[in-house]
């Protein structure tokens, strides 16, 4: 399944018109210990770049933006009790929400894994 990345350090994995979104391992390493994740409501419609979720660490609260437009189908309820999953498995079990895509064409604006790696290496 193809996976894309944003400059704000979100990842999105797409399967048909459905997708899973999270923050990257690089992002979690910068944030430190995650203490709380505010998840979007199922059914919420989001525009590309909208703030959908907030990831709290001890010292910071960071907005997570929708990489593409669409509609939220579920938030990752496991994170309510285990926010630390975002630290230990940011790009796997620590996903934040699932959504349907409104316009798959928006994916073209995002980076693939190699491009993201190169982007992070520059930071």
């Amino acid at each position: 399944m193809p996976r894309y990345f944003t400059k704000d350090h979100e990842w999105i994995e797409v399967e048909g018109d459905a997708a899973t979104v999270g923050i990257t391992d690089y992002a979690q390493s910068q944030l430190g210990d995650i203490t709380f994740v505010e998840l979007p409501q199922a059914g919420a419609s989001v525009g590309k770049g909208d703030s959908c979720s907030v990831v709290d660490s001890v010292k910071a609260a960071s907005d997570v933006y929708a990489p593409v437009s669409g509609s939220v189908t579920e938030g990752n309820a496991v994170l309510e009790d285990q926010p630390e999953l975002v630290n230990t498995a940011a790009e796997a079990e620590g996903w934040l929400w699932r959504m349907t895509l409104a316009d798959a064409g928006e994916l073209a604006d995002l980076m693939d894994e190699d491009a993201y790696k190169a982007y992070v290496a520059e930071l």
Binding site: T35, F36, V58, A61
Partner: protein, 452 residues
Amino acid sequence: MRYLPLNDADRAAMLDVVGAGSIDDLFVDVPAEARLAGPVPGLPMHASEMAVERHMARLSAQSLTAGQAPFFLGAGAYRHHVPASVDHLIQRGEFLTAYTPYQPEIAQGTLQVLFEFQTQVARLFGTDVANASLYDGSTACWEAVTMAGRITKRKKAVFSGGVHPHYVETARTMAKFTGDTLVTRLPELLAASDDDAVIADIDGETSCVVVQYPDILGRIPDLAKIAGAAQAKGALLIAVVTEPVALGLLESPGTLGADIVVGEGQSLGVGLQFGGPYLGLFGCREKYLRQMPGRLCGETLDADGKRGFVLTLSTREQHIRREKATSNICTNSGLCALAFSIHLTLLGGKGLEEMAKHSRVRAAQTAQALSKVAGVSVVNASYFNEFAVVLPRDARDVVRELADKGVLGGVSLGRLYPGADGLANGLLVTATECTTTEDIEALVKALEEVLA
């Protein structure tokens, strides 16, 4: 100068290290035209400790104090006996001259007090959690309204006419700028509070219902009924407690279904202080914790595994979230919270109940005595330690005339509700455990003379 340790020899030596010719030279970045050559004109020079104390004592003597006169005022500020040990303990330098406990290793004293305070407030209010205090009851009330807006994503708040008018006015002032809609009404001089009218105002747009308990006239609303009606429409119930001593006898608002409970903590430990500093109390359901304003203290462990306390969940606050913060508040009312907590610790649950009983009994005795004065009638069907009476003429004038006779007889509704003609003859009368039989007799005698 007695507060400045540097002398001229120190200053000269230090200026040498700094490489400046004079202290004035350190202010080179101030534009020359804005730099004053000498002391600000038009102001007196320094004064000795004796002289300042003498001046302040002269001013103090120009007030008629609560302790000097038969005293029956309330309306959101109450005179209770504060044990001497409270004022002694809050003046310990380690409490008085400490900063906000951002360095928890050397602030466990303040932090443990805040943790105990939060637990005391939560138990008193019947809520799951409570914060480390806000400025005062009126600002806490507005914070609760905005919090309900964040939770329900609605912007209409319904206020009972029984909410303290200053609290309503504070909220109205803020709402002008935030775009919230407030549904407000004046109280009426009726035996019961306006529960049914408030319930009728709740609709699908309502974020919260704000009800004072006991209300501004001292009546005790049916919180459980209002809570049910609010929740049926997806709105929250905010209960406002301006006299926490009442909860020594009355059921806690959270237990009766309030989602958020706010209050004024001044009654315990703080004293009258002409209106401030006071102490905002704030409790709510656990599920709303992340939407709560203000500082929070939480339990944790240190590197050696010992129990300790820290300020926590600070990412909600302004210094981190900046324009996305839950509130712009960055201070609590720490020393007042300490005073409140010490007083409540000295009382304990049973002591609080006894204090409440004495207050209620003194109020009942006052109400009985006043109801026998010609032309005076008691309004309330229910009350704790505060009730309204109707006088035969404007209560503002009566209060001033009573003051001329050395009696502080109550709060006129005309002062609280200027322009509301239907309330002009109303007088709020409050008693506490400090009220004596002689005080009640003096009030009755003076009132009979004034109304004769």
